[in-house]
Symmetry: C2
Subunit: 630 residues, 2 copies
């Protein structure tokens, strides 16, 4: 209490740092561009495994690198700025002044502390290329493209030997997964609109990442303070925490006060793309009265967020006046917050949405900073009863039109999808989206396959997410156990992220991603060989795996024991399998043939007996009259 305090001493958000169990951060350098350092995680195995470390995709940024110096007050290193300045076509300028309404008019002790460092924003110069889409169309490979190719390959310098076989045994529903990701492939996919690299030129702290059907399936975690609860400190840590467990993207869905300052802290400290829904902040600027929204307020909010470095915007421009009445008979009406804000505005003014009317203006703004579109599904179904209805699909068609406009304007685009959809109605969503939106990446919320399990909607939605990810969705927006009930805490965020990592990985496996099964195989070998520590360390959540094991068998000795708590020490199926291997290894070809002959004979005998019985069947009892009841 007697220590002098300096400005940095208080209020500095505490974030989780340190390596994951048995893990090392490694950086690989693409041959084409060796000044790039692309991060991966390597999980070391027990020496008895006699296997190399298992390399896995790493979203956790410098926080999990014990050699990195983390200072949340300074933000992460802004390495991308050099790439961008070298590329040219950009100007540094003063930027918009922060206004009181950007923080919801918060003052004094209610105003969250400003981020201590100020950076001048960049924007594209007139007539110059800015976006990854523009460069790709022009045949140019950016550093971001090289980076994501290296990252998707986990730094491998060539395709895995069995890559073709892995792809062929999968079912990717017409996707075109390559054996090896080259920067050229990345560029081509972006130029076709089939993939995006969300990377605002003002998010210099970013470790770029690609979202598209022919790449690893990505996941998004939502964070954000609300009018009801939470602080800046919590939000920054939620971002760090979510990416530690595998969130590829984070959306800041803050409402209420301090939106601007909260977001600045998040972006300056975020290694992953940050998305927002700008209409939320615009609504705060008009005191929550939807009908008071104007294009001018919205436009100003877009520029504010572009300058801060938001990487993608959810824009509900597909919610049109003509579609609103289609939702009237729904069980759950309009459940998208952005969708209902716009519906309210349109009803109040009886005018077409200003997002739709000003769509080209929006494109011009976003292009100048390379902010990607996430075209919002404001009319997504919020109940099983409302799935795949006229309102939902009318909006999807409009999103398809808007996609083409945005592409023509040079912007990167992805499309948001539902929502609540029973299993048999999921695939049609994917098929329609691919067709209507020219294969632009689909980004879905779940979908939840039933409405009846509040408290478990990470699971109801994880089922739908795994399926739609398999069918071709490029990014899955997580749902936490608190969905529909309350705000997720730290543990909910983790459970949501792990559930969605499961869904994304299950989708990668089913699509036939050439490297997906490596981790399953490594873990299963560890399981088979009773390498308990390796099994924990290779798990998506090593802490929980270890904790669950220790609840039954807490002693350290059990972690090297050749049995587990399920069967106990006397009998173990894994032990027997080892004996089977010895047996099979010792079998001669003659013995094998002999066995097969015996089996065929026994089978023939069985079949005869079965026929015999069936012929007799029903005759051994006296038939009673039909429907007699006993």
């Amino acid at each position: 209490m007697n220590k002098p305090t300096k400005p940095g001493d208080f209020d500095a958000p505490k974030v989780t740092t340190g390596a994951l169990p048995a893990s090392r951060k490694v950086y690989s350098r693409p041959a084409r561009d060796p000044d790039l350092a692309v991060p991966h995680r390597e999980i070391d195995l027990h020496p008895s495994a006699n296997e190399p470390a298992v390399r896995v995709y790493d979203t956790s940024g410098p926080y999990s690198d014990p050699t990195a110096e983390i200072d949340v007050e300074k933000g992460l290193p802004r390495h991308r700025r050099d790439w961008l300045l070298a590329r040219g076509g950009l100007e540094e300028y003063d930027g918009r002044d922060v206004k009181p309404e950007d923080n919801g008019g918060a003052t004094g002790k209610y105003l969250a502390r400003e981020f201590p460092v100020k950076h001048m924003p960049l924007r594209g110069l007139p007539g110059q290329m800015v976006t990854q889409y523009e460069f790709a169309k022009a045949g140019i490979i950016t550093k971001e493209m090289v980076y994501v190719a290296e990252r998707e390959n986990l730094g491998r310098s060539q395709a895995l030997e069995n890559a073709r076989a892995q792809i062929d045994q999968g079912n990717s529903f017409g996707a075109d997964i390559p054996e090896f990701i080259t920067p050229e492939f990345v560029r081509d996919e972006i130029a076709r609109g089939r993939a995006i690299i969300p990377a605002n030129i003002n998010h210099a702290e970013l470790e770029p990442q690609i979202i598209g059907r022919n790449f690893l399936v990505k996941i998004n975690a939502n964070i954000g303070n609300s009018a009801v609860a939470s602080s800046i400190e919590e939000e920054v840590e939620k971002m760090v925490w979510a990416t530690r467990w595998g969130a590829d993207n984070v959306m800041d869905l803050s409402t209420g006060r301090n939106i601007h300052n909260t977001r600045e802290w998040i972006i300056r400290n975020s290694p992953v793309p940050i998305g927002t829904v700008p209409i939320y902040q615009a609504l705060e600027k008009v005191n929550g009265v939807a009908e008071d929204l104007t294009w001018e307020v919205y436009r100003d909010t877009l520029i504010e967020q572009c300058e801060q470095g938001v990487d993608y915007f959810t824009i509900h421009a597909g919610v049109r006046l003509a579609y609103i009445h289609l939702t009237a008979k729904r069980v759950c009406g309009i459940v998208s917050r952005g969708g209902s804000i716009m519906a309210k505005w349109m009803l109040a003014h009886h005018k077409e949405s200003f997002l739709y009317d000003h769509f080209e203006d929006i494109c011009d703004i976003m292009r100048a900073y390379d902010v990607s579109f996430s075209l919002g599904d404001g009319l997504r179904p919020g109940a099983i009863a409302d799935a795949n209805d006229a309102a939902q699909f009318a909006e999807l068609e409009t999103l398809g039109e808007l996609t083409k406009i945005a592409w023509a304007k040079g912007c990167q685009v992805m499309i948001e999808g539902p929502g609540h959809v029973p299993m048999h109605k999921i695939k049609i969503n994917m098929d329609k989206q691919l067709k209507a939106c020219g294969e632009a990446p689909f980004y879905t919320l779940g979908p939840l396959v039933t409405d009846i399990a509040p408290g478990y909607d990470h699971i109801t939605s994880g089922i739908g997410a795994a399926m739609i990810g398999w069918f071709g969705t490029s990014m899955l927006c997580y749902v936490t156990p608190k969905e529909h009930l309350g705000l997720p805490d730290r543990n909910d965020v983790k459970v949501g992220v792990i559930t969605y990592r499961i869904a994304a990985h299950a989708a990668d496996l089913a699509k036939g991603h050439p490297a997906a099964q490596l981790r399953d195989d490594a873990l299963s070998r560890a399981r088979f060989e009773f390498r308990w520590e390796d099994q924990f360390n290779l798990a998506l959540d090593p802490e929980t795996a270890r904790d669950f094991h220790d609840q039954t068998l807490p002693k350290d000795a059990h972690k090297v024991a050749h049995f587990c708590s399920m069967c106990g020490p006397k009998f173990c199926s894994m032990k027997i399998t080892a004996e089977v291997r010895d047996y099979a290894a010792g079998m001669s070809e003659n013995e094998r043939l002999d066995l097969e002959k015996q089996a065929a004979e026994a089978r023939k005998g069985m079949e005869e007996k079965s026929r015999e019985f069936l012929n007799k069947g029903g005759e051994i009892y006296i038939h009673a009259p039909k429907d007699r009841q006993t």
Copy 2:
């Protein structure tokens, strides 16, 4: 401490009783057989809902009926005994004496207390029909068939008005779900082998239930003490607890000592069918040495369990000597405990499995008590790498042969399935099973769609379970979060059951079960109308839903508030939807047509602009040479 103790005062298992929130137990009486009282649960809604109570399927037995007298020392009422004695064809006899080895030789304080009441067992008289399959084949409708028909319909006396439409909008992959379940339909499905009613004539406490592709998807929860942990008290409560949350069936997978006494307590108190894997107990009788197993020990164990009232046996008769070497190159070998016990025996003796060789004898025993077969998949894959391999499918073909034998012998049969299977390899399992096993009900463990998430295998398997349930699996065996790591505790059992209720219900919805969506719709209406209490009460787990809500907004007032914690009081999408409804209701036909015209025109304009842009696209920049990198 001074109170005198009576025999019933100590050691009596404590079980959970009482109604679920806002729920009443109701009994309906089938018109055809009004002396049967078939239980359902009715969930009362808030008066403002102006909706009748929502009736749901109820697996919880008398424990959730506040008017029932529960005395675990006496067991549940043995109402089925009257039905059976009235039906005839059975004899009461002394039964086998309990031997010390039945309880693993436990003595003194290590011997679990015997169940206080002794019942004489029943068995079929020579040449008389015993099994539901035999009666069905003979055209006879049993009381059990009437009971399950009433139960599947939730007591409705006729089909729902929109039943046909619901079925037609679903996709049941060739199943044949009727609009309304009649006893005749039940009989026909059983006679075709497409459904079973597991109902040992010595399980008189049972509330019968049907398992088949054209009925509601069922779930199974595994319990059982192990050599490492747990007691009788815990096991009885686990059964009560699991059925309270929705387990349709319970398997007692006990190993170690006291298997006989534990099982007696469970069965005498169980309203749901109890399954076992008799080889586990047989192995204990030979001190855990697999090669010491004999047909005689196994046969004696079958009779012991038949007399106690076990409703279905997992029998791994499809693991044949000729298939063992097919598992040698697997990543995880043989992971089924029963499968590996038999593999070990066959290797030790170099002989065909005694389960296969004595299959007809086993049928004769099981038929005499109407114990259903659950033909075990001893060679199921235990890793993604091993899915759908030669060993697995060779065994499945054999299970198909054995199914036909068992039918010819008059037995009811279901087939167990995997395991660890990636999503794209799930459907082939279902298709092959239907074909190989003549549409006998499939009963799968998950499948787990990835190996990399120990600690979350209720989720990895819930994804696979929902999918395979949709494709046609009749019963889903739950997996708890502790799978692969430790023994499930009370909370794990609940989480496993709820996860599998989600999977089963998602499957019912997707198959187009005519009544499945009623609960989703009721819950979604409650959600839309801010009837928080109704939303909790209609949830699969009302306690968790309420608890999660209260963590963010604990005040009682919030439970009637017309907003929720996600958006706060100022803005609410649900509120806006109410305004949309008013608007749509007030629209004239002319207004509607005018809107649609405007929309069509705007769309045309957009399309023209998009074409214009696209035609110009790429020309506004000077093309750089391909692959130039910036």
